[in-house]
């Protein structure tokens, strides 16, 4: 039976008719048309469905939508301001960290959660923070480069 629930997605409020079995990833993609969040394995192993809830990375494919009513959900669509890319997105683009791009939204959000807390991560800290995001195309090398470059850029901006 559907019930009306309020979702705060990318700082906007939505009232949606939701059935209990609906997953957060389905609500985002099918009800709100925010297809940036992807489904890939369905069992929380690959991280492609990663969104931020109250700033923390979680798996939207293992989250019942009703359980996050009223929480602040951030999807990849929140990051760019019009055509101006977020520094992390810019770094991914400039460093060739994107090939097929399917793991990219989840990867960027995990990186954002890291850099929002720590603008000076080590190589190892970046790998650890992104260890729940799988990629089959890039071998991860340029993704790590991009996150470190974004950290530097964001750090500089924070200091100016």
């Amino acid at each position: 039976m559907k019930q009306i629930a309020t979702f705060i997605v990318n700082e906007k409020r939505y009232e949606l008719a939701i059935e209990p079995h609906m997953l957060l990833v389905e609500v985002l993609r099918d009800e709100l048309g925010l297809t940036g969040t992807k489904q890939s394995c369905g069992i929380g192993n690959c991280g492609a469905c990663t969104v931020l809830i109250d700033g923390k990375p979680v798996l939207s494919c293992l989250t019942l939508a009703l359980t996050v009513e009223g929480k602040h959900i951030t999807t990849i669509e929140a990051l760019a301001q019009g055509t101006a890319l977020h520094p992390i997105q810019k770094a991914f683009v400039e460093h060739g960290a994107i090939q097929c791009g399917f793991c990219t939204p989840g990867m960027i959000l995990s990186a954002k959660a890291l850099l929002d807390k720590n603008l000076n991560p080590t190589d190892r800290e970046v790998k650890y923070a992104l260890s729940g995001n799988l990629c089959r195309c890039t071998g991860y090398v340029k993704i790590i480069d991009a996150v470190l470059a974004a950290a530097e850029a964001m750090s500089k901006e924070a200091n100016t």
């Binding site: 059935e19 079995h21 609906m22 389905e26 993609r29 048309g33 925010l34 297809t35 940036g36 969040t37 992807k38 489904q39 890939s40 394995c41 369905g42 069992i43 192993n45 690959c46 492609a48 999807t75 990849i76 669509e77 990051l79 760019a80 890319l85 997105q89 991914f92 683009v93 400039e94 460093h95 060739g96 994107i98 090939q99 097929c100 791009g101 399917f102 793991c103 990219t104 939204p105 960027i108 790998k127 650890y128 992104l130 260890s131 995001n133 799988l134 990629c135 089959r136 195309c137 890039t138 071998g139 991860y140 090398v141 340029k142 993704i143 790590i144």
Partner: protein
């Protein structure tokens, strides 16, 4: 041949990168068409079974279910080969008989498609699946290829006598192998096995199909070979080709798996049955059981050398496991033998392969397509020979690698090779001299290993290497390039932009890639066999050249000079003898379009390209491993890939291919094991909790070296590089393990238990 290049060779940003970074890029699973129904598939829980009864009444009565189709419904359509090898895409008349129906009355493997549902949402479709009652008559089944070939084994296909789907002979036999082995001074041989490896594309198989009012069918398809998909789908559903339109969205990874039809046939069937658009997205489990994965082999290999390390003889017999339907699998052996036996200089070569059908999910093409499997054995035997002969593994390879001008693996002239430089630079980068062949002590032992390989740029002369490019110049001097390779993440749009822009003397961002719609694009074989940059690139280059000729002719008229003396650079056309005589691209193009003097022209160029050459890329792979002799764990701590792929159109993109190949190669070598239960035929590794590919924490320190010397036949000297990056990884690891602990594992993947057993055996 040195080139002064303004655009080619630059690390440009990909035109589609921002869309992917913002989540705006649309993949097949993202496509939303009004009124779309969601499809789901009923799959056989048995490896071999006849469907005796399907009762869809309960499911049909479920509110929200629009249609249910069964093999009875799909019998009206043509049988096909999902690898599309029932089309004449391979030279010499090789085809595969069409053996698979859209739905099949006899399930030939665990997960074979039996029935399908279209409903108004996914949840109802799932519920409907549960309500469809299917009765199966279980049939005797075969998992092992050797058992499948025995007399009395259950026959899987009417086309495969004794379950042998195809017998393949090595396409370029040479010399007298028997004699050569008799005379060889050092013989090495072994039996090797390689598993199925699942592609693990980030995006699962997905398709959207919509039947339009005028009877046209639009299919959003992930197929790497869009124009072939168009024809195959038209053929299956009894339509003329022009009634089918394939739209290629962004594709979330392929590595060869989308070289076959995946979700399209069932999706189209549901759309035709309901008259409504249907979206069919496979689950990760369905990706593992319903699609082709890498063809697994068991093979014997024999190599003969002279005392001085010269390779004189090679022979192999390969047994490949196909699966319940033929698909792309058989060619894996042909390609494997061609690339493996044709890599080193060897005057006496022979090889045979039996590709056997079994009641298992299908086998097909995965990055390297048979080359990774065969080089696994070849590169280990080369090391064994080196040891027997007291040679360094580098030394023995340098002795036998081919030089430019010799006959390459595909029987054509080896246009260029810098494999020697790859080997030398890679060896230096890994620290070969300091690390190889040292006495190892202690619980943790390090070792280094090398493997080399040759691959292809496109599959001429074996496959139909036919590409088309059309370019038109707009009134402001920008250009639209009409091409249709498949955007699977290989950065092809950027590369083609660079090639066209370089030829036309404009900037990469001045090129708009018009693609992804078979109504608009000319025939394109597709992205396969590492051919997009090489073949579509050459087509693009020549189309641009044609457009340039028209452009310069017009400019010559406008400037009052001869076309021969004109050059273009940075959007400016000028006389090389009198540089002051110049005009902008934009002015010339504008004049051509807005022309009232009876000289209207949309400056353009077109090229139908069929490769007459094949410029094989070559590469050397170096692994440094750390082996714990108590736990049996192998950790790759450093990896260096040195690749000769001609001129790198975009070095950043080339690096990405090589780095990605290392991840897949480490998976192939150490962590990925596709397991089928021998007693039940059930696939036990059907998601990432049971099937493990390397994650961020499993990657070594990597270094990629691009030799960057141009090939005479590639566009601006480029060669293919989509596949080679994974080919030499696993054997380099195996050889490094041997250097560390003096045991060989011949059976992929290398696991701790296998290593400990080998160490135990070596001690006794």
């Amino acid at each position: 041949m040195s080139q002064r290049l303004s655009v080619v060779g630059k690390r440009i940003i990909q035109p589609d990168a921002a869309a992917k970074a913002t989540g705006a890029a649309l993949y097949a699973s993202d496509i939303m068409v009004p009124g779309t129904l969601i499809g789901k598939v009923v799959r056989s829980p048995y490896p071999h079974a006849r469907i005796t009864r399907i009762d869809k009444s309960k499911a049909e009565n479920l509110s929200g279910v629009e249609a249910i189709i069964t093999p009875e419904d799909t019998a009206q359509w043509q049988k096909f080969d999902r690898g599309m090898k029932d089309l004449p895409m391979i030279a010499g008349g090789y085809t595969v008989p069409p053996d698979e129906g859209v739905l099949n009355e006899r399930a030939r493997h665990f997960g074979d498609a039996i029935a399908a549902v279209a409903a108004i949402n996914e949840h109802i479709a799932e519920e409907a699946l549960e309500l469809i009652e299917v009765e199966y008559e279980e049939l005797p089944f075969i998992i092992d290829p050797e058992e499948a070939m025995k007399p009395g084994a259950p026959q899987i296909s009417g086309f495969a006598k004794g379950n042998i789907g195809k017998h393949m002979s090595y396409a370029f036999p040479a010399g007298d192998v028997q004699k050569a082995f008799k005379e060889a001074e050092c013989i090495v041989e072994g039996t090797f096995s390689t598993p199925k490896q699942e592609h693990c594309t980030a995006e699962t198989a997905a398709a959207v199909a919509r039947l339009d009012v005028n009877g046209r069918l639009t299919v959003w398809s992930q197929c790497q070979l869009p124009h072939l998909a168009r024809r195959e789908i038209a053929h299956i559903f009894n339509m003329p080709v022009h009634r089918v339109k394939i739209i290629t969205p962004f594709i979330g990874g392929s590595f060869g798996q989308r070289g076959a039809l995946c979700a399209e046939p069932i999706c189209v069937a549901l759309a035709l049955k309901t008259g409504r658009p249907v979206k069919l997205v496979y689950s990760r489990e369905e990706n593992f059981i319903a699609l082709e994965s890498r063809t697994g082999f068991q093979y014997t290999l024999r190599m003969g050398f002279q005392k001085d390390g010269t390779l004189t003889a090679m022979d192999t017999y390969m047994l490949g496991r196909l699966g319940g339907y033929m698909g792309c699998g058989p060619m894996a052996s042909a390609i494997g033998m061609i690339f493996g036996l044709g890599h080193y200089r060897c005057p006496n070569r022979s090889g045979e392969a039996d590709m056997v059908m079994t009641n298992t999910p299908m086998s097909g093409a995965f990055r390297g397509f048979g080359n990774p499997a065969i080089m696994w054995g070849i590169e280990q035997l080369v090391d064994e020979a080196a040891e027997k002969l007291g040679m360094d593994p580098i030394e023995i390879r340098l002795k036998n690698i081919k030089k430019a001008g010799e006959i390459a693996n595909m029987g054509l002239r080896l246009e260029s090779t810098y494999l020697e430089e790859c080997i030398k630079r890679g060896a230096e980068a890994i620290g070969w001299k300091e690390k190889w062949g040292k006495t190892k002590k202690g619980t943790i032992r390090r070792g280094v290993g090398v493997a080399t390989m040759t691959h292809c740029s496109g599959a001429a002369p074996l496959y139909l290497d036919h590409s088309n490019a059309f370019i038109k110049l707009n009134e402001d001097g920008t250009a639209d390039l009409v091409v249709h390779p498949a955007p699977v993440g290989q950065h092809i749009w950027g590369a083609l932009s660079q090639i066209a822009a370089e030829e036309l003397g404009i900037h990469a961002e001045d090129i708009n890639i018009v693609t992804g719609d078979t109504d608009v694009t000319l025939f394109e074989y597709g992205s396969d066999a590492s051919r997009s940059t090489y073949s579509v690139g050459n087509a693009t280059l020549i189309a641009a050249l044609q457009a340039k000729e028209q452009l310069l002719e017009r400019a010559a008229g406008m400037l009052g000079v001869s076309a021969q003396e004109l050059e273009i650079n940075d959007r400016q056309i000028f006389s090389s003898t009198e540089p002051k005589k110049r005009i902008s691209m934009a002015d010339v193009c504008y004049d051509a379009i807005y022309n009232f003097k009876g000289e209207c022209l949309n400056i353009s160029g077109k090229c139908s390209w069929e490769s007459k050459w094949n410029s094989p890329p070559t590469g050397a792979f170096f692994a440094e491993v750390e082996v714990n002799i108590e736990t049996g764990r192998v950790r790759v701590i450093r990896f260096v890939t040195a690749m000769d792929c001609g001129k790198a159109i975009n070095p950043m993109a080339v690096e990405g291919q090589l780095e990605g190949g290392i991840q897949q190669g480490i998976g192939y070598g150490l962590t990925e094991d596709y397991v089928i239960n021998k007693d039940t035929g059930v696939v036990e590794t059907d998601n990432y909790d049971s099937y493990k590919m390397p994650g961020m924490m499993d990657m070594p320190e990597t270094q990629v070296i691009i030799i960057d010397e141009p090939d005479p036949k590639g566009p601006f000297g480029a060669k293919g590089v989509g596949e080679p990056g994974m080919v030499g990884v696993a054997p380099a690891i195996a050889n490094a393990v041997y250097d560390a602990v003096k045991v060989r594992i011949r059976d992929l993947p290398i696991t701790p238990e296998k290593l400990l057993n080998a160490l135990e055996l070596a001690r006794n």
